[in-house]
């Protein structure tokens, strides 16, 4: 057992290892607590000497997201990571990436806001990640890891979906998942895609150099004719509907016979899984619905639980109430939906969530 390929690592360190092993072509970033270990680990591992992956510290987050735009335009697998205020700086770039339909990966290791806020864990960027994070009608594909192992696994899953749908993907983590160490099993090293493989995969859109047998590909989000821009928008919306139809991921814990269901993601979901254990020990039938993708959001399983007769839902988030809006839309009046949260970098304890559940829902 001592020689098993099990490592003990921080969530942020794992992002770096997972990116290299996935065959990522480039990372562009700027340091910010609590995610600085991502680039620190990449610099320590020196992947440019092994896989040929580029690691570059940009002069700002605005610069790094636009380097991602450039790299993604050529069909390369490129990424950046930051924490809340840094991701705000990237929001123009996120809109352009979505508009130009460029696949890439952004990791947000959230901290308390608004503004510079604190450096402690928060989930205050749910709206930013899922409802915009830039101008125009667009969505990112958003993953919410709840363990160090998922920090690892979501890198490959997010890149794969980003390329399948030609859309930027985000891993929405937080300071707790990023700073925590847990056991992790690392994937085997995959080779980076060759230029020939990229040309075959991204022939229709990427600007890797024009071959003789096809017209020039133009990567842009600009279209001055509104008639054409509406057609582009409709295509984007069709893509989002396909994501909603096919790519929803979630975990249901003890939901089958549950009278009450806690909905929580990321580090909150970990804390709330202990709440479920405590509730069950008291004889209360409480379950946990954990969205793994925040966009597309697991509307259907929540609606089904409501239709099955769940008496109430508690959306437990490290914010003032953001995901609760999506839970309410999914439940659509079939049962009461309440929110419990802490803000500004404060975490809740499992017993605190149980007390909130009793006070807001069970006693009613």
């Amino acid at each position: 057992m001592a020689d098993k390929e099990v490592k003990l690592m921080k969530g942020n360190e794992v992002i770096a290892h997972a990116a290299i092993r996935y065959g990522c072509d480039g990372y562009f970033g700027y340091p910010i607590t609590p995610q600085s270990e991502v680039m620190e680990t990449l610099m320590e591992l020196k992947p440019w000497e092994t896989t040929g992956m580029v690691v570059l510290q940009a002069e700002s987050e605005i610069s790094s997201i636009n380097m991602v735009y450039g790299g993604a335009s050529t069909g390369k697998r490129v990424m950046t990571s930051s924490s809340s205020p840094g991701v705000s700086l990237m929001s123009e770039g996120l809109s352009y990436l979505a508009g130009a339909e460029l696949p890439c990966l952004i990791v947000n290791c959230q901290r308390g806001g608004p503004g510079l806020g604190t450096i402690q864990p928060s989930q205050g960027d749910y709206f930013q990640a899922c409802k915009g994070g830039g101008h125009g009608d667009f969505h990112l594909i958003v993953f919410a890891p709840a363990s160090v192992q998922e920090m690892h696994d979501h890198v490959a899953e997010a890149f794969d979906l980003a390329f399948k749908y030609r859309n930027p993907a985000m891993i929405l983590a937080d300071g707790a998942i990023g700073q925590m160490m847990e056991k992790v099993v690392l994937a085997p090293q995959r080779p980076r895609r060759t230029n020939e493989e990229i040309a075959a995969e991204c022939r229709e859109w990427a600007a890797y150099g024009k071959p003789a047998d096809r017209p020039r590909n133009v990567v842009t989000s600009l279209e001055l004719k509104p008639e054409k821009m509406e057609i582009i928008n409709r295509r984007l919306q069709a893509k989002y509907r396909a994501l909603e139809e096919n790519e929803v991921r979630y975990e249901a814990v003890a939901c089958d016979d549950a009278d009450y269901v806690i909905v929580a993601f990321g580090s909150s979901a970990r804390i709330c899984s202990a709440t479920v254990e405590m509730a069950r020990a008291e004889g209360l039938k409480v379950g946990l619905l954990r969205p793994i993708t925040l966009y597309p959001f697991p509307k259907k399983p929540i609606a089904e639980l409501a239709a099955r007769g769940v008496k109430g839902f508690l959306s437990a988030e490290l914010n003032a109430g953001q995901m609760v809006e999506d839970v309410r839309l999914a439940v659509n009046g079939a049962a009461p939906v309440e929110h419990y949260g802490r803000q500004g970098g404060m975490l809740f304890n499992p017993d605190e969530v149980l007390a909130a559940l009793k006070e807001k829902l069970i006693k009613k």
Partner: protein, 181 residues
């Protein structure tokens, strides 16, 4: 088996590394482990703490509001964490710099004078492994052979020359810890 433990003291005392050695030892014993640090400005001269959970089952919350064991290495941490030890739990503290000793009667209290022992030996760097040795004497949650592998795994290669001294410090910590009540 599930041990939820907090180690709390000043930044620079080796609080986080002690947790890391323990977490690695747990991995060697095939336990599930979580290591959740306080991070940021707290680490720089202020208080530092780490929550380590070792379990033979999947760990739900890495955040705890009560602990089986608290290892307390400064006065601020005594104020904050003594009340958070589970009834029947264990509190271990280094007496150095402690002005208000633990008062609870419903927990087991142990003292270890590792700071003064390290000062006497002229080996300040062995402080955290000596404390760890005291803890393992009281709560033998991982086998000593796995602790030694965990110690090696959590140290960078350039520090491996310090392994024998640290192993000795772990043993010595077990000798000098004493039960208060």
């Amino acid at each position: 088996m599930k041990e939820t433990l907090i180690i709390a003291g000043f930044g620079g005392q080796g609080v986080l590394s002690m947790g890391k050695i323990l977490a690695y030892s747990g991995v060697m014993q095939d336990y599930e482990v979580t290591w959740m640090p306080s991070y940021g400005p707290e680490m720089r001269g202020g208080t530092a703490n780490v929550t380590v959970i070792l379990s033979d089952r999947k760990i739900s919350s890495p955040i705890a509001h009560e602990f089986d064991t608290a290892i307390i290495l400064n006065q601020q941490s005594m104020e904050k964490f003594e009340p958070m030890v589970k009834p029947g739990g264990v509190l271990i503290y280094d007496t150095n710099g402690i002005t208000r000793h633990p008062v609870r009667e419903d927990i087991s209290v142990y003292a270890i004078d590792a700071a003064s022992e390290c000062a006497r030996m002229g080996q300040a760097k062995l402080f955290n492994t000596m404390i760890l040795g005291g803890f393992l004497k009281v709560r033998p949650v991982v086998e000593m052979a796995n602790v030694m592998v965990g110690l090696k795994k959590s140290l960078p290669e350039r520090a491996w020359k310090m392994l024998p001294a640290n192993e000795e410090a772990i043993r010595h910590g077990g000798e000098i810890i004493r039960k208060i009540r």
